[in-house]
Structure formats: C-alpha cells, structure tokens
C-alpha cells in the first residue's frame, strides 16, 4: 500500500528525514514511533502529498505521490498533527463539506456523515460550532473527517494526543476496528499506544528508521528480552562481584543500594538462557537472606529508550 524508497526531506538546511525506506502492506496497522522532532510528521506530510520530498520515491496504492497526487489523495484519509479545522463551521456542516470535497456520491453523503459521527462519538455535538469544542472533540472531528470518504489508507498523525484516558481507549478501539478493513499508518510518541494497536512498529529517530518489527519482537530484541530482579541482604559490591562472573551473564545493575542491608539488583542474561538457577546457587553459597528472585519481561519502553539513545 505504501512504498517509500530513500525518502529525504530537508527544511532549508535542516535534515528532518534522512534517506528512509519502508513498506506498509495492505491491511496492516503500522505505528510510527519516535520522540518529538524525530521526523514523523514530516514523513506523513510527504506521504499525504502536502509537502514535496527533497529526494526519494514514494508510491501509494501504486500511484506516485508527486506525479499522480490527485489519485493518491483520493485514496488517503489524512489527519494532520494538531488537527487544523475551520473553527467557524458547525460539525455537521464541516463533515458534509469535507465529504463533498472528497467526492463522496451525493446520495451517500448523509449516510457517511452519520456513520463517522457514530464511530467517533460525535452524535451529540453535530450542531455545535467547531471553535467552541474541546480539544478531545476536535481531535475526533479530525478523525471523522479522515474517514468520511471511506479511504483505503488512513494516515493519522498523533491521533490520541490531547485526549483523556477514556477517549484514548475509545479511539484505540476504533483504530483497531478500522484496521480490520483499512490500512493504517499512525504516529505517536506514546509507547503503550503502539503496543495495543499496531501490528508493526517503525521506530524513527533523528530522521532515520532505527527498527521495524512487531512490538513483541522489538522488546525481545532488547537485552535478551528481559532481566532478573534480585533482592538479597548483602552489600551491593559483593552482589556484583559474585554474580557478574557467572556464565551467560551480560550485566548486573544495582537498582537500590539496599535499605538496611538489602540490595536490589537487575541482572541481564544472554538471550534465551535462564540463569535463575545459577543465581540461586550463588545466593545459597553466600547464605544471603533472599526476598525476591523474579523474571521481569522487557517493555517496549526499554526497547524504545535503547533504540533512541544517543
């Protein structure tokens, strides 16, 4: 559905996106994940045909984004960052206007507007002026606009930013639902979001794609996918000195240098090796009183931090 080859975008000297390539297949929900300023919005603006790329080739649904822009725009529902809307229009009026612009057949307009209002929980604000709506409602008007012509591809730039937790959950459910029939590319800097909605994550940092994988695989990638938490009554230095030399141990990190004499350590092992038995061996040998020995699964957050560290 989306084919990006060697895309670069420079804003008068500032390299916002550097030579990135990726594909999104039909039916996928792909999350663009990266810290602020990573180049997510820039990439999406180029995909939506709003900004020209400085370099590179982009095809959407088989059409070139620059030379066949109109065909591309017919097939995309794009929700820009910060959702700029005509604040003087009423919600119903705005959605009808956008449906007409996007060439929804005249007899289907009413139906489509009602459908997207239903999906985005906008039923009760249809006759309100957009300028008087709260951020959360405006966000959903933007989302409704993106879907009103039932496009093959949805490009959503930070769709849940500015929403309260309940609204976030409902937008997430909506996106997952839409994902059954649409291809979706969404951007976010919130980790739990991609974990819950996306089949695949593209981690972007400083204009480069650092990783592209499922959320599960990405977390597995980080330091073997997890760590072991150990809490024993022993001096921190001893814990490091005794456990570090064990086979298959990559790193021992002191989390808490002990309350009383208690030390909390985080132990990272080589991928796929269970070292809990060896660690318990050390504990028994030294007669350290033991409070906790547990496996902790890596989070996507750790993967993210690892991938976007300088």
């Amino acid at each position: 559905m989306i084919e990006v080859e060697n895309l670069s975008k420079t804003y008068s000297g500032v390299h916002a996106v550097r030579n990135i390539s990726f594909h999104v297949n039909k039916g996928e929900i792909v999350g663009f994940l990266g810290p602020n300023g990573a180049g997510k919005s820039t990439t999406m603006k180029v995909l939506a045909g709003y900004l020209p790329p400085t370099d590179g080739k982009i095809r959407i649904a088989g059409y070139d984004v620059i030379t066949e822009s109109l065909e591309v725009r017919k097939r995309i529902g794009y929700m820009p960052e910060n959702v700029p809307l005509y604040t003087d229009m009423r919600v119903n009026e705005f959605l009808r206007f956008r449906a007409e612009l996007k060439k929804v057949a005249r007899r289907r307009i009413k139906d489509r507007v009602e459908t997207v209002k239903e999906l985005c929980h906008l039923k009760d604000v249809g006759s309100k002026i957009i300028g008087t709506l709260s951020k959360g409602y405006r966000q959903r008007v933007g989302l409704a606009d993106a879907m009103v012509h039932d496009p093959d591809l949805l490009i959503l730039d930070e769709p849940t930013i500015g929403l309260d937790p309940n609204q976030i959950r409902s937008v997430r459910d909506l996106i997952r639902d839409l994902g059954k029939h649409h291809t979706i590319l969404l951007s976010t800097h919130i980790l739990s979001e991609v974990e819950l909605t996306c089949g695949r994550v593209l981690v972007i940092h400083r204009g480069r794609i650092e990783a592209s994988d499922t959320p599960a695989n990405l977390t597995r990638l980080v330091r073997g996918g997890g760590s072991i938490l150990l809490e024993v009554k022993a001096p921190s230095a001893d814990v490091v000195a005794r456990i570090q030399p064990l086979p298959n141990i990559e790193d021992v990190e002191i989390v808490l240098p002990g309350t009383g004499d208690w030390t909390v350590a985080k132990i990272f092992a080589k991928p796929g090796v269970d070292v809990r038995e060896d660690i318990f061996g050390v504990v028994r040998q030294n007669n350290w009183p033991l409070r906790e020995l547990a496996r902790v699964k890596a989070t996507l957050e750790e993967a993210f931090v690892e991938l976007t560290q300088d």
């Binding site: 709003y50 109109l70 612009l101 060439k103």
Partner: protein
C-alpha cells in the same frame, strides 16, 4: 464539482468574519453619505445635465473606497488558511489547485459585488422617486456596472495573489493595496508633460480613470474588457502556479 463546494464555503465564510462585516457596514455608510451629499448638492444647484451617478463614479471617494475594500476582503483568503494550518486539510483533499484559486477568487468577487449593492438600491430609488428622474440611461448603468465587475475582478485577483504569498494578513493587504495603487499611479501619468502619442495611448488603454469616465457616459468599448479579463486570468494563473509549486518543489 469541488469548485462549487469550495465557492459556497468561501462565500459563507465572509458572513462569519468580523472584518467582512466591518467592511460591509463601512462601505454602505460611506456610499450612503456620499449619495446623500451629492443628491442635496445637485438639488440645491439645480443642475440639469449632471447626475449623482456620474459624479459618484468619478470622484475621489469612490477610488478610495475601491482601493481599501479589495485588500480587506482578499487579505484572508490564503493567508488565514496558512496561519491556521487549514491549508493542509485543503491541499490534501482530492481537489485541484485551480479549483481552490478560482473558488477563492469568485468568493471574494461575489462579496465585493455585494458591497456595491447599496449603490444599486440608491440609484433605483432615485430613478423611481425623483422628479424629474436623473438624466441617466439604462445603457450608462449597464456599462458602469460592467466596468465595476471588470475592475473589481482584476483587483480581487491581485489580492488573491498577494494572499498566497504570505501567512500574514497585514502584509498581504498592504501588498495588494500597493499593487492596486500602482495601476492608479500609471493612470495619473496621463497629465505628465512631454509624453509621446504612443505612451499616451498605452496609458489610456490601461487607465481605469478613463474606463470609468467612458462607462458613466454609456460608451461601450471592448478594449477594457480584453484588458481586464486577460490581466485577471494572468494573475490567477500565476497564483495557481505558486500554489502548485508548494506541492512540487522540495
């Protein structure tokens, strides 16, 4: 057609805009005051061969009004969309640049013509209720109305053009005013001395002073029509290229 959708939106947006209402009331007020003043003046002096109509469309206040109205109407058409970011929504919808430019142009031109409706009503009232009726023929009304539309179209196109250049409405309005004034300035050069016949003929070809001077007398001339239509088309084409250029050039 996206043009009609955009045109309707464009026109209705004027009636949501404070600036537009101020321009509307300001114009009606100025037009009404000038009209009353001129009517009284003519009645007192007991002119037989002059009409309010003829004086009005060739007097300084008419020019000032015209030159101020247009920039205030057109300054927002693109600048505001750039400022609010709504241009991103507009340009990522499947619409062509010329549809956008034309809808903004015709929206502004329609509003401009609405601003001149009070004058039409004044004239109708004068024609119906004054005794004897003013010495003005339907031909004179027709040529003047046509000239207003043509000059208005050209100036509005200049305003749409300056609006596509900046997201700052003030800059857009000032640039537009400067361009409009330049056309007036050229017309004023007629009174310069030592001009050869060729230059003079060009000045009178583009002079809106002469165009209105002829129009109020009911003289129909195709040359101003060609001039204004082609200039308007050219300026709108440049505007469309600038808008399109944003999408094409990295």
């Amino acid at each position: 057609m996206a043009f009609w959708t955009l045109y309707k939106r464009e026109l209705s947006s004027y009636f949501q805009s404070v600036v537009a209402y101020i321009v509307l009331f300001g114009s009606a007020l100025a037009q009404g005051m000038v009209f009353i003043t001129l009517t009284n003046f003519i009645a007192q002096q007991n002119y037989k061969d002059q009409s309010v109509f003829q004086i009005f469309f060739t007097c300084a206040i008419f020019w000032i009004l015209l030159f101020v109205q247009v920039p205030l109407i057109t300054m927002r058409v693109f600048s505001e969309e750039f400022k609010l970011g709504t241009i991103e929504m507009l340009l990522t919808a499947p619409v062509r640049e010329w549809e956008i430019v034309l809808s903004k142009f015709f929206g502004a031109l329609t509003f401009f013509l609405i601003l001149w409706l009070p004058v039409v009503l004044d004239q109708v009232a004068l024609q119906l209720f004054s005794n004897p009726p003013p010495p003005v023929s339907w031909g004179q009304y027709g040529t003047t109305a046509l000239t207003i539309v043509l000059v208005g179209a050209f100036y509005v196109s200049l305003g749409v053009f300056t609006s596509v250049l900046t997201k700052n409405q003030i800059i857009s309005a000032v640039l537009c005013f400067a361009l409009i004034f330049a056309t007036f300035f050229v017309a004023l050069q007629k009174w310069q001395q030592h001009l050869d016949a060729f230059t003079l003929s060009w000045i009178s070809y583009v002079s809106l002073l002469e165009h209105f001077g002829h129009a109020v007398q009911g003289l129909f001339d195709t040359r101003p029509i060609v001039y204004y239509v082609s200039m308007t088309a050219f300026v709108l084409l440049v505007t469309q290229r600038i808008l399109l250029g944003r999408r094409l050039k990295g």
